[in-house]
């Protein structure tokens, strides 16, 4: 009955035979085939578009060290093309061309901010690349804040140390530049394409189309949205700058993850900048109070929380990639001291260490990994106060109904006693980096440097810390003023009473950790 249409009338059914002459049959087949072709083409195009825009393909690396430096942890913008989420950086093409588009805002390029460029890599260490939403997006990964550089002398080669605090990195300056240039009138599709071509990068037709129609507008809107949230932190000149090697971990977190209105928080709470920590040798740290204030005792939760700071969100996170880093840093050894060590002095120093330091700082110390009350440690309290009880309870609401739900965050009242493995590479010292060298730390606060440059990567083997007081250090580093709120260098009075000889011995021993 397929070629018959039944017409019902009062007299009964009329059968109207259709498609029974050759022309009708041909045209019927032709139209059916045309419709099939149209439908097929539409389906193919739809599938191709879906594959194109739904593709989520990180650039992957077999070598774990390359993965750490350049691999994606999911911090690139993702979600859907209609409601993109996550990410703190614009797509690859834009990110790459920003310094050329706004040269006045960053004359030295990304390298001048302390981002490390290696030969054979287009992007700096700590910036990952991933295909999402039809574009190559870039994101920040662990290595951005946890890879440092060291030189033994101004003229010697730069050593890149993985897992080391990125003491040279001006993270605040980095975000300030990306956001300022993203909102600059010069950021247009035409400029991005022109600058990309100048640098020899091919821009496909689809990319041009997306740039012209959506991406630039999307970037500006997202940047404005992000900017509006963290403006109270970044745009207030009366708040201390983070400077090189530091980040305010939890205040952007409050604004970005929870959309808190930062202007309603006590001003003192907004000054939470602290040093990047080291990432090596994590296995023995499981169960210890982690973060400077010891607010969490789970390595997994600490890692996931840190990745949120890099731009990951619960819907864009790449758990497997983070787990890969997690597994690697469990046993990543601390770097060895790059100068010679006086063995006999070091042996004597061990005795001093055991007597005065080991209880709180050796892996086997009874108080290692516990929180020392702020009253007894006496160091600057701003970082401690920036993490609040309300924030801790809010964090439990992230990743709801999920194995990754945070369960170990708590509010403490002090700073954690941390193991000192690789301590030589963790300068400057104390949680806020307020004391440039270990030698200075063994002096009473009044004798510790008041203003110094930090971020310069030439090492001072005698004082055990980076050089802070040469013209070159002042030129390339940022000025650290201990008088600014949050930058205080008081407290941690342990060891200041040791004799000069004992201090020398202890310093020699600390180089070996």
């Amino acid at each position: 009955m397929s070629d018959e249409t039944i017409i019902r009338t009062a007299e009964g059914d009329l059968v109207d035979r259709i498609y029974s002459d050759p022309v009708d049959l041909y045209q019927h087949r032709f139209r059916r085939n045309l419709l099939l072709v149209v439908v097929l083409v539409a389906v193919v195009v739809a599938i191709a578009l879906l594959r194109y825009f739904l593709a989520d393909r990180p650039v992957t690396y077999g070598d774990i060290r390359e993965h750490f430096k350049y691999g994606s942890i999911g911090s690139e913008t993702g979600g859907s093309v209609f409601t993109p989420v996550g990410g703190v950086l614009p797509p690859y093409l834009i990110f790459k061309t920003l310094p050329a588009i706004c040269p006045d805002k960053l004359p030295g390029g990304y390298a001048s901010l302390g981002l490390i460029f290696e030969p054979g890599h287009e992007l700096p260490v700590g910036i990952s690349r991933r295909r999402r939403l039809g574009l190559d997006e870039v994101g920040v990964n662990c290595a951005a804040c946890h890879t440092g550089t060291v030189r033994t002398a101004p003229e010697s080669a730069t050593q890149i140390v993985l897992g080391m605090p990125a003491h040279q990195l001006n993270l605040e300056g980095f975000f300030q530049f990306v956001q300022a240039c993203s909102l600059d009138d010069r950021l247009t599709a035409g400029n991005v394409i022109a600058k990309a071509k100048e640098s020899g990068t091919h821009v496909s037709l689809m990319q041009r189309l997306l740039l012209h129609l959506f991406i630039i507008q999307r970037i500006k809107l997202e940047t404005l949205s992000l900017r509006n949230r963290i403006s109270p932190l970044l745009d207030d000149p009366t708040l201390p700058q983070w400077g090189r090697g530091r980040v305010d971990t939890f205040n952007p977190y409050k604004a970005i993850q929870f959309n808190w209105d930062l202007t309603r928080l006590p001003r003192a709470e907004l000054m939470g900048a602290a040093d990047f920590p080291s990432l090596w040798n994590q296995q023995p740290r499981e169960g210890m109070h982690l973060h400077w204030d010891g607010n969490n005792t789970s390595l997994d939760e600490r890692n996931l929380s840190a990745s949120l700071g890099a731009g990951v969100t619960p819907v864009t996170v790449d758990y497997a990639a983070i787990q890969r880093v997690h597994d690697w840093i469990l046993t990543l050894p601390p770097p060895t001291f790059p100068f010679s060590i006086d063995a006999s002095r070091s042996a004597r120093g061990k005795a001093v260490y055991d007597a005065h330091c080991a209880q709180c700082h050796s892996f086997t110390g009874s108080k290692t990994g516990t929180v020392e009350d702020i009253a007894s440690i006496g160091t600057d309290a701003y970082r401690l106060n920036s993490y609040t009880y309300v924030l801790a309870t809010s964090q439990a609401l992230l990743f709801p109904d999920n194995v990754h739900r945070f369960q170990h965050f708590s509010k403490t009242n002090g700073y954690a006693n941390v193991p000192l493995d690789g301590v030589w590479a963790r300068a400057p010292y104390l949680h806020n980096g307020s004391v440039p060298t270990l030698a200075d730390l063994l002096n009473p606060p009044a004798e510790r440097p008041k203003v110094f440059a930090r971020g310069y990567d030439v090492y001072d083997e005698h004082k055990v810390g980076f050089v802070t007081d040469t013209a070159a250090a002042r030129a390339s580093g940022s000025t650290y003023d201990t008088a600014i709120p949050g930058n205080g260098n008081g407290g941690h009075l342990y060891g200041i009473a040791l004799s000069s000889e004992q201090k020398q011995d202890l310093l020699e021993y600390l180089k070996t950790l």
Partner: protein
């Protein structure tokens, strides 16, 4: 002043024609739907005889129902048609004019299949549809080929029985015999396809069958394409037969026993070069609809004709080959080449009207005679006018081809209003003259009660 060349008699082997002016094949839908003839057809043919042409070649006359181009054309598919054709011949003969009946089979070029045919595909050498209207077809079996050859022979026999002066095989303009001859159309793998000799076998077997049926003393001519120009409209089509192939076919036809060759061009009908002249989109918009369902590309073509914005696209295709050809004597150069290779008399068609042109092609050896249709539709007495010494009538045919497009729907006549000073009513009145005299008028006058 009498013109010496044009009005010289032309002697064929079996036929003598009083002058060199032939009425070419043209007719309207004047007959009964079932293929029997009418008084109107007699009126139509007689009007040309009165006008002074030496011979009339009928419009296509189907040798079988399935080979009918469109309904309302008298056929010669059965013996019962003989009396009608005798009547036509008698009417024409009264004016010292000869009548040659064109034996025709549409093949796939069935512009309007009619109720009898529309459920079947047309027969052809191929199963590929026609390139212009998308008319569907299927390749003939060998049995069907033999039957069709006999249909042609039977048609010739009936024409002779009817006392007509000869027959013409329509082997040009894309109809069935062209579909066998043309390399652009014939894709057969059997003995009727492939090399030119195989493709010509169908034509030559028809000639032989006719000769066998009617003998050697009956005038038989073939209307042949000198060149196919099968890609004149759409450049992606094949070119079809070349002039050399056209000449070869003419030579074989002569050997097989034709008494004359009627030379034309064009692998479809209508074709950009045939009939030469215009292709009026307004008329196409009005009348192409009558054959819109005949082929699978009818709707496409109609869309091109209907929307003003699309017309230039179609025109660009239609005009592309015309640019390199004249309208008047469009195929004369090719005809000359054919004439130089055969010895039977040649008749050439395509854009003849002006006596100066006709004189020249005859006197300079392009052809022995010319055939024309549209100029005679416009001026039935064109031969008398030329004979009076004028080279052109006062209101000559403009080759606008409005008659051509109207023919598929309306009574045939001249539809160029400019020739009637824009008076539409006058134009229609002229066209309607073909219906006089009317068949029943005599009995009305005699007082017979036709209602009884």
């Amino acid at each position: 002043m009498e013109d010496g060349v044009i009005f010289q008699p032309l002697q064929f082997r079996n036929l003598r024609v009083k002058n060199r002016l032939f009425r070419s094949n043209i007719s309207g839908r004047f007959d009964n739907y079932n293929g029997t003839g009418t008084q109107t057809r007699i009126n139509w043919e007689e009007s040309f005889a009165k006008g002074g042409v030496g011979a009339i070649i009928s419009s296509y006359v189907p040798v079988s129902l399935r080979g009918r181009i469109m309904p309302n054309y008298a056929m010669i598919d059965a013996d019962d048609k003989v009396p009608f054709w005798r009547a036509v011949g008698d009417a024409v003969h009264r004016h010292d004019c000869k009548y040659i009946l064109q034996l025709s089979h549409s093949g796939r070029q069935r512009d309007n299949p009619g109720v009898e045919n529309f459920k079947t595909k047309a027969l052809s050498s191929t199963s590929k549809k026609d390139t212009f209207h998308g008319l569907l077809c299927e390749a003939m079996t060998l049995k069907q080929i033999k039957e069709t050859i006999q249909d042609f022979a039977n048609g010739a026999r009936r024409a002779r029985q009817a006392g007509l002066d000869g027959v013409e095989l329509h082997a040009s303009h894309g109809y069935l015999i062209t579909q066998f001859l043309s390399s652009a159309i014939n894709d057969r793998k059997d003995e009727y396809g492939g090399v030119l000799r195989n493709r010509a076998a169908f034509l030559l077997e028809i000639i032989a069958a006719i000769r066998k049926e009617v003998g050697d003393d009956f005038h038989l001519q073939a209307k042949l394409n000198a060149v196919d120009f099968a890609n004149a409209l759409y450049p992606w089509e094949k070119k079809g037969n070349t002039l050399q192939e056209g000449i070869q076919v003419a030579k074989w036809a002569e050997e097989a026993g034709v008494d004359a060759i009627h030379v034309s061009i064009g692998s479809i009908f209508p074709h950009p070069l045939l009939p030469p002249g215009g292709f009026p989109p307004d008329e196409l918009n009005w009348w192409y609809g009558t054959m819109i369902g005949s082929g699978v590309r009818g709707y496409f073509n109609y869309t091109m004709f209907h929307f003003h914005i699309l017309r230039p696209i179609f025109s660009a295709f239609w005009e592309r080959t015309k640019k390199s050809h004249p309208i008047e004597a469009v195929s004369s150069e090719y005809c000359k080449a054919v004439k130089q290779n055969v010895s039977v008399p040649i008749i050439n068609t395509g854009g003849y009207q002006d006596a100066r042109v006709i004189r020249r092609v005859i006197s300079e050896g392009y052809t022995d005679a010319v055939s024309m249709a549209r100029p005679l539709v416009a001026n039935r007495d064109l031969p008398h006018i030329l004979r009076s010494g004028k080279d052109l009538p006062e209101r000559p045919c403009t080759f606008c081809n409005r008659c051509l497009v109207n023919a598929i729907a309306n009574p045939l006549g001249c539809y160029d209003e400019r020739r009637f000073d824009g008076d539409h009513a006058a134009m229609v009145a002229k066209i309607m003259e073909v219906f006089h005299p009317e068949p029943f008028l005599e009995s009305e006058r005699a007082g017979q009660d036709v209602r009884a």
